[in-house]
């Protein structure tokens, strides 16, 4: 019984000591809020967080290097992280950036709708949030969006398809097939809609014929952007609808799928159709040089990163970053002010000039 007294006393003393030592309670730091005009919003050597998705493609690896070099060059502390472990890892990374006191957080989301809690946390701590390449959805806590204009990408693809087929065969009707990206990627529908804005009137007036009849996005999708899925669908379409007819053109949302479709066409022993692409992948640039794939889209990562860093500099200086679209990108909670970069269509004609500054693709076009 005597022991209870001792233990109780010790605990009580510990409790009192712990509270007394730290009687300051909550601190109100970290809620400085938005930028005041004119004066610097935060010190020039502040930490800037960059949360990128899985390190799966050349584009993201390049973006990492560019962000690191660019932010450090501007005097900031760069904190660039990849979330190879998926959404939950990205959530924790953003939380960690907030803990480290990041003043601006640039987010290339794995899933733009699953970061709401962490973005609120960042916003409450006074950080500015820039959605990079992919829009952040269902949250009021996103300040800017910087990306390539994806609807424009689709339009360019549609137009390139028409131009390419016309150059090969002056008058229609042309037989085409449509391929779209993965349904779980919000951009896939945007690409498709952009292209269909150009193609739909031609389908309606009979210039273009989709022989398989598969004209809707749902019919044209390619799960997971996987080449094997596109190739399988192309095999089926060719066997089903093009026994005797010729296939003149294929709308493909990106280079990987374009090459998959070409593989399928070659296997079926058919003449190669005009086919579009996107991303300027090395293999596709080679294919364009060889006259197989018709077009791709150049979305220079360098320019995108450069603009994101310009935004950070503006925010640091207390200026409002430049935007060029304040009405198109509604994320279901707010309309996010956006800066959209213009994509460039690349065919065999302009391939040399398009990649002249590119250290990897430039030499391929020689």
């Amino acid at each position: 019984m005597q022991m209870i007294g001792k233990a109780g006393k010790a605990a009580a003393i510990a409790a009192i000591a712990a509270l007394a030592l730290t009687a300051c309670g909550r601190s109100d730091s970290g809620t400085s809020g938005g930028a005041s005009s004119g004066a610097e919003a935060f010190p020039k050597d502040s930490s800037i967080g960059v949360a990128l998705p899985q390190k799966t493609s050349e584009n993201w690896v390049l973006a990492e290097k560019l962000f690191n070099d660019g932010l450090k060059g501007a005097g900031f502390k760069a904190d660039v992280q990849f979330a190879n472990g998926g959404v939950s890892e990205q959530q924790n990374q953003i939380s960690a950036m907030v803990t480290k006191g990041a003043k601006v957080i640039i987010v290339g989301a794995i899933d733009g709708a699953q970061l709401g809690t962490q973005l609120k946390q960042a916003k409450d701590a006074g950080a500015t949030i820039i959605a990079y390449d992919r829009l952040l959805l269902n949250t009021p806590n996103v300040d800017y969006y910087v990306a390539y204009d994806n609807f424009k990408v689709g339009e360019l693809q549609g137009q390139a398809l028409l131009d390419g087929m016309k150059a090969k065969k002056p008058s229609g009707p042309y037989n085409i097939e449509l391929f779209a990206g993965s349904p779980d990627d919000a951009n896939a529908k945007v690409f498709f809609d952009g292209a269909m804005k150009v193609l739909q009137p031609k389908i309606d007036d009979g210039t273009l014929v989709v022989k398989s009849g598969q004209k809707t996005f749902e019919q044209a999708v390619t799960q997971g952007w996987k080449a094997e899925n596109a190739q399988r669908r192309a095999d089926t379409l060719l066997a089903g609808s093009y026994g005797s007819a010729s296939l003149d053109g294929v709308l493909s949302p990106n280079d990987t799928l374009a090459r998959a479709v070409l593989t399928s066409v070659k296997a079926a022993g058919k003449p190669l159709p005009i086919i579009t692409g996107q991303d300027s992948e090395v293999e596709s640039v080679k294919s364009i040089m060889a006259g197989e794939q018709y077009s791709t889209i150049n979305k220079d990562t360098r320019k995108l990163v450069e603009h994101a860093i310009t935004m950070v500099k503006d925010i640091q200086a207390g200026k409002t970053p430049e935007i060029n679209d304040d009405k198109s990108y509604n994320n279901k909670v707010k309309t996010v002010p956006a800066y959209l970069l213009e994509p460039v269509i690349v065919t065999k004609e302009n391939v040399k000039t398009a990649y002249v500054d590119d250290p990897v693709l430039g030499p391929l076009t020689k």
Binding site: Q2, M3, I4, K6, A7, G8, A10, A11, A14, A15, A18, L19, T22, C24, G25, R26, S27, D28, G30, T31, K55, D79, V80, Q81, F82, A83, N84, G85, G86, V87, S88, E89, Q91, N92, Q93, S95, A96, V98, T99, K100, I110, D111, G112, A113, Q114, L115, G116, T117, Q121, D124, A125, L137, N138, T139, S182, P183, D184, Q223
Partner: protein
């Protein structure tokens, strides 16, 4: 040395783990320039890992029973998407959603338990099938889309205790919880001493108990202080609270109840257990079912935290949970492991992850380090067991008798005694 022995007496394995955890925290606190032990970061730590730790609670029971469950990530994702859809499409309130989610967990668990326990297919196969099955269901039901959940459902994954009572500059409910925790620790220690005395067992000297209590209570109070002094509006997080309740409940079930002891018996030696009248099929069924219920809960908490359910929720969670359990001292052969140990193991991984992120170490290096930690932690354990020793600290204290061990978590010793006698 003698004093140290007495202080950590009996529970050496666990204190080794806790010691490693503390060392890790101290290391990162220094390396990150004080960013580790800030209110915001400890809250993040619990918010970002509570679902894995909840899975670890279920997983340790599965592993103690001699099985494994690879389907937990997929089950979590399936339950998450189902509940999110139901709330979105049928407009049911959040509490019904949670209830339904748990019910779905029961059904899935019954399915897996049936195949494992009554048909006798190894749990590895059953849950490997379940991993594919429920991932497919998740993407089928959700059409591979992201489905948002309303704010009141988000509370279970990212909510905080309300502010209440007088303005003290702290979150009052968190303070109360902390004090309740301290009271609980003190009372249970005193009771176990009393019980030991009445059984005529050796009782450590009073100063040993007092020092131990001061250390534990100090840690609890410091944590309470951190949680109570975060940004206004924050407190000890709701997912952390759910986790704490589950740890208490499952800690009690696994060590103090008949069902709990049966799990160890079946995992340790199934035939011996059956001959002693343990219904091993029922135990296996319950263990597998329980895992799926907890997976469902973890999935819902994650959806709440993410504010939406997605097609790739829960990918790789089973491996995180399994890693936590093995770092926490469970044996692959079954029969050994504790709930508390697994939580500590999970926290080791969580602190490691968090610290490396704070340091800005890349995802690639983080995986390498985590992989090595898992391997070394288990290798260390296996080596010591193969040498007939318990652990480094156990080795230092090999002369220290077992007579006074009346610890609720000390469940490894029975197995080891059996193993030695066999």
């Amino acid at each position: 040395m003698n004093a140290l022995k007495k202080l950590f007496g009996g529970n050496t394995r666990q204190f080794g783990m806790i010691f490693a955890l503390v060392a890790l925290i101290v290391f990162f606190q220094i390396a990150t320039g004080g960013n580790t032990l800030t209110p915001g970061n400890v809250i993040n730590l619990f918010n970002g890992n509570s679902y894995i730790l909840i899975l670890a609670i279920g997983m340790v029971l599965v592993i103690i029973a001699g099985h494994i469950d690879l389907s937990v990530g997929s089950v979590a994702a399936f339950v998450g998407v189902s509940v999110a859809l139901m709330i979105q499409d049928w407009g049911i309130p959040w509490y019904l959603g949670i209830l339904f989610g748990l019910l779905l967990g029961v059904l899935i668990g019954a399915w897996q338990g049936f195949w494992t326990a009554y048909v006798g297919i190894p749990a590895f196969i059953v849950t490997l099938a379940g991993m594919l099955l429920f991932r497919g269901f998740n993407q089928f039901v959700g059409k591979s889309n992201t489905i948002p959940v309303p704010a009141d459902f988000q509370y279970i994954g990212s909510g905080y205790l309300p502010e209440f009572g007088p303005v003290t500059g702290y979150n009052n409910l968190t303070l109360l919880l902390g004090l309740a925790g301290v009271a609980f620790v003190i009372v249970s220690e005193i009771r176990s001493r009393r019980k030991a005395k009445s059984l005529g067992a050796e009782v450590p000297e009073a100063w040993v108990t007092v020092t131990k209590l001061v250390l534990i209570c100090g840690a609890i109070l410091y944590a309470t202080y951190l949680f109570a002094t975060g940004r206004p509006g924050t407190s000890f997080p709701i997912p952390g609270l759910i986790l704490a309740v589950l740890v208490l409940v499952y800690g009690f079930i696994s060590s103090k109840t008949i069902v709990g002891r049966h799990v160890y018996a079946v995992g340790g030696n199934r035939h011996a257990a059956e001959l002693s009248g343990v219904q091993s099929k029922k135990v296996n069924f319950l263990v597998m079912m329980n895992m799926s219920i907890l997976a469902g809960l973890a999935g819902m908490i994650f959806v709440g935290r993410s504010t939406a359910s997605g097609p790739f929720d829960g990918v790789g969670w089973e491996l995180d949970a399994i890693a936590a359990v093995f770092i926490g001292g469970a044996a692959v052969t079954g029969g050994v492991g504790t709930v508390i140990g697994s939580i500590v193991g999970g926290l080791v991984m969580a602190v490691l992850n968090n610290g490396l992120q704070l340091l800005g170490v890349g995802a690639d290096l983080t995986q390498i380090i985590k992989g090595l930690v898992l391997l070394i932690a288990v290798a260390f354990d296996v080596y010591n067991k193969s040498q007939g020793k318990r652990s480094i600290i156990g080795m230092m204290m090999k002369n220290f008798g077992r007579g006074n061990e009346i610890k609720p978590d000390e469940t490894t010793s029975t197995k080891e005694v059996i193993a030695k006698e066999a």
